[in-house]
């Protein structure tokens, strides 16, 4: 029988190899050959970068998307008033210059840029695109309200007509933006696709088909679309020769490949079919010593939200702090997630926002809270129990029913029950949507959840804990906090970024003192990038990856 088995295997291999032989007779182009020489400098000019994305793209219409990958893809083709530099700070894009008058009105002078069909990019293209976000309506239309653009809030609430939006074309190349409340980070908001221009004449002609195929899409950015179908697994762009800075674009083009299976993506990377490969956590752990390995912070912060509104144990700040300190965050990152994620002892993530001092917010704030400390946690726990007059606490931890989240929840449960005497944690997984609905209804004890930033300013997190905000899960309230946040959004602080930054630090201090959320970790993305490729800019917020300044060789 053993002999037969071996024979069978041999037969199987002969069969498989005979197909292979048939295949190689085909005149089709040679697939990536691992032995092929690395393209030399002469070939570098013609280099097409093959980039891996892990999920299909929903849409390339700036008004129709809500996913980070979509933002990135749109951002490689279309450029807004500002673009982001390698550090994530705003630099002029379509707006060559701008001035701000005493009323806080911004006037942009657009550069002499062209759409890929030869039309000039006009101020009216911005007016059209912005108004279009309200009529569609775009999922991210709330960013117009965040930006404080005149009448945006009233239009969203249905009180005013979209034509009253505070954006006007003074002439073909001059765009005027008026504000209800000036926004201190307006420039960095502008690299979000909802604020990108859309060629009015072209888009009106395309109607609903806009963005469904290369012939229904225009770009004014570094690359233009040449091959695309909705929900495609592969689509191609080439360098846009009409781009105003085309001389600085070194790549001949980009091919995006949607690969859901991370193992296959890695093999394809090894085979030379991919130049940039996104790694799953298992692969990241295996490859973290590889020379081409790269871990970049994503803006996602995972945290536990105690339901303060419920009263009892979760309303007691000592209990909240004890729970926040009694589990080993380092172990979660290194033993469970293993993808380069970092322990979080803060409520505003690393790499989110650059302050007026030119430093990352985390660096200039320096605040850390709820650091892992079992001794301290035990003291706080005992104090909390005494205040409550009980000797045991039972809590249900709810979380998303996904493998890695579950592992983290189980670890936290075990740690807390071991370290805090009298605490019983029951685990309750839910589908994401249901978990989020329960938490929005404040119907839970403690929930493990995450928040991804909407724009590059600490306010995208601080807003979460304001009164009536949908994602203020625990319904926590503080008059002092509301007062500070009110101030942050006023005109006087919008024009005084240093003072505003100090206020933001004060607000974060309150969240820390009150342990409004119990941070767990900040997510990281692990990638492999071919060693001859440099200059891919990774960002924690907005556009995940920017390929404009990629150099080959």
């Amino acid at each position: 029988m053993k002999l037969n088995k071996i024979l069978a295997l041999i037969l199987a291999f002969v069969m498989v190899f005979s197909f292979a032989a048939c295949g190689t007779d085909e005149p089709a182009k040679d697939p990536a050959n691992p032995d092929a020489p690395v393209e030399g400098d002469e070939a570098a000019e013609e280099r097409i970068l093959n980039v891996h994305v892990t999920a299909a793209i929903d849409s390339i219409d700036p008004a129709l998307t809500s996913a980070g990958d979509d933002f990135e893809v749109i951002g490689t083709m279309v450029e807004g008033l500002f673009q982001c530099d390698a550090a994530g700070a705003a630099i002029p894009g379509m707006a060559e210059t701008y001035e701000i008058d005493d009323n806080g009105t911004w006037t942009f002078h657009l550069r002499d840029a062209k759409w890929s069909n030869g039309d000039p990019v006009t101020a009216d293209d911005f007016v059209y695109a912005w108004q279009r976000c309200f009529t569609i309506p775009a999922e991210y239309v709330f960013l117009f309200e965040t930006a404080g653009i005149k009448n945006a809030a009233a239009i969203i609430a249905g009180e005013k007509d979209v034509s009253e939006l505070g954006v006007y074309a003074a002439d073909e190349k001059t765009l005027v933006v008026e504000f209800d409340v000036p926004c201190a980070f307006f420039d960095s908001l502008m690299f979000f696709p909802v604020f990108y221009p859309v060629n009015r004449a072209f888009a009106e002609e395309c109607g609903e088909l806009y963005g469904s195929a290369p012939e229904y899409y225009l770009s004014n950015g570094p690359f233009e679309l040449v091959e695309y179908t909705p929900a495609a697994t592969e689509f191609k762009m080439i360098k846009n020769e009409d781009y105003y800075a085309a001389d600085e674009v070194a790549l001949a083009g980009l091919t995006y490949k949607v690969i859901l299976d991370s193992q296959q993506a890695y093999l394809a990377y090894q085979n030379g079919e991919l130049d940039v490969c996104v790694l799953s956590s298992e692969l990241a752990d295996l490859l973290k010593t590889d020379a081409e390995f790269l871990a970049t912070e994503s803006g996602y912060l995972w945290y536990m939200s105690p339901n303060v509104s419920q009263g009892g144990a979760m309303a007691n700040v000592n209990i909240r702090k004890a729970i926040g300190m009694a589990f080993n965050k380092e172990a979660i990152c290194n033993n469970i997630l293993r993808n380069g994620s970092v322990p979080a002892d803060f409520c505003i993530p690393v790499g989110l926002a650059t302050g007026p001092d030119g430093k990352d917010y985390r660096e200039s704030s320096g605040l850390l809270y709820n650091e892992y400390n079992v001794e301290e946690a035990k003291k706080l726990w005992d104090a909390g129990l005494k205040e409550l007059g009980v000797d045991s606490v039972e809590l249900t931890l709810i979380f998303d029913d996904e493998e890695s989240v579950k592992l983290v929840a189980e670890f936290i449960q075990q740690e807390l029950q071991t370290n805090l005497a009298g605490l019983t944690i029951t685990l309750q997984p839910y589908p994401k949507k249901q978990r989020s609905d329960l938490m929005k209804a404040h119907d839970y004890d403690i929930g493990l959840c995450r928040w991804g930033p909407d724009y590059a300013d600490p306010l995208t997190y601080l807003d979460l804990w304001t009164d009536g905000y949908t994602h203020n899960y625990g319904d926590w309230h503080s008059d002092e906090y509301m007062e500070i946040l009110g101030k942050i959004k006023t005109v006087e602080y919008a024009i005084d970024p240093e003072a505003r930054w100090e206020l933001i630090k004060d607000a974060e201090q309150i969240i820390a003192d009150e342990s409004v959320i119990l941070p767990v970790y900040q997510n990281c993305n692990a990638s492999l990038v071919k060693s001859d490729i440099t200059g891919i800019e990774f960002h924690a917020v907005g556009l995940n990856r920017v390929f404009r300044n990629v150099k080959v060789g």
Partner: protein, 314 residues
């Protein structure tokens, strides 16, 4: 025969209408909505519902949808490819899945038939054992094992084939997925062929044919294989549909723009129109193939044709 086919087609139409109704009902009862982004406000969701007519009563939506289908309009996708007409979305995906499935079935059926024949004719020899082991492996190992093994050996190690599907070179880049996808049908066909052939070879009419002096390929093909084919075709029908409508796993691994992966995603994301359109295509293909199988029975075995006509005339 004509009457029989006409009746079958009529039943099929009714079946599809009932199926659509059931699908509509099930999707309606499913929790969640197509617009489940955390960042959408209740007002925005309301506007979107109005825009797509999802706020109308169930029965109105059903009949409106039926009316649109007759006009060839399957609606638009809600979230997989926002606002894109389903017909555009499926335009390239359905042919890709069908072509890949077709290749796999063709390969699987021919190799399977060959293996089965060898096993039956060389019954109880080492060839029989080998063929049996291959078919057991093919049936019991899931296709992704083959997909990964092939990717690693022929794709990565040998570098003969690309690991990812590329629409610019659809043949060479579909070799690995085709082979991986064909394993299951190959193994099934091989098993069935072997069993049926053994039975036929032992039958009296084979003895008669042989004693009449018929021998060699003529005996095997005209007399043995033809009789053995009937049950084989019965299993082939569903196998073709299953393979053609795409394998989620194979599509996922080789990053193939087919309909298997789309189907799963549309169900998960509540993209109702995509789910319904794909189910519709799936049912059409299934019913169509079953019809073809029924007709094939008649061609292979005149007795079936006769008895069916009899039963329908009575």
């Amino acid at each position: 025969m004509k009457k029989y086919i006409f009746k079958r087609v009529l039943y099929s139409v009714v079946a599809i209408l009932v199926l659509l109704l059931l699908l509509f009902l099930m999707l309606d009862l499913m929790p969640g909505s197509p617009f489940n982004d955390d960042k959408l406000s209740a007002e925005q969701i309301e506007v979107l519902y109005q825009k797509y007519g999802l706020d109308d009563p169930f029965i109105i939506r059903y009949f409106r949808y039926l009316g649109n289908i007759i006009k060839g309009d399957f609606g638009v996708s809600y979230n997989i490819a926002s606002n894109v007409p389903i017909t555009d979305l499926l335009q390239t995906r359905v042919p890709t899945s069908i072509r890949l499935g077709g290749q796999a079935v063709l390969l699987g059926a021919s190799i399977g038939l060959l293996l089965g024949l060898i096993a039956a004719l060389k019954h109880n020899t080492v060839f029989d054992t080998i063929a049996t082991i291959i078919s057991v492996l093919g049936v019991s190992l899931p296709s992704y094992v083959f997909a990964l093994a092939l990717s690693y050996t022929l794709g990565y190690r040998a570098g003969w084939f690309p690991l990812l599907y590329d629409s610019a070179s659809p043949f060479i880049s579909s070799v690995l997925p085709t082979v991986a996808l064909s394993m299951f049908s190959m193994a099934n066909i091989a098993r069935f062929t072997r069993t049926e052939m053994l039975e036929v070879l032992r039958s009296d009419y084979m003895l008669l044919a042989e004693s009449k002096g018929i021998s060699g390929p003529k005996l095997i093909i005209r007399h043995a294989l033809r009789n053995a084919l009937i049950p084989i075709i019965t299993v082939l029908g569903p196998l073709i549909v299953n393979t053609m409508t795409g394998s989620l796993v194979i599509e996922k691994i080789f990053s193939i723009p087919g309909i298997g992966e789309l189907m799963v995603r549309s169900i998960q994301q509540n993209d109702y129109n995509v789910t319904i359109a794909l189910s519709f295509i799936y049912s059409l293909m299934y019913i169509g193939i079953m019809l073809v199988v029924d007709i094939l029975y008649g061609i292979i075995d005149p007795r079936i044709r006769l008895s069916k006509e009899d039963s329908h005339e009575s």
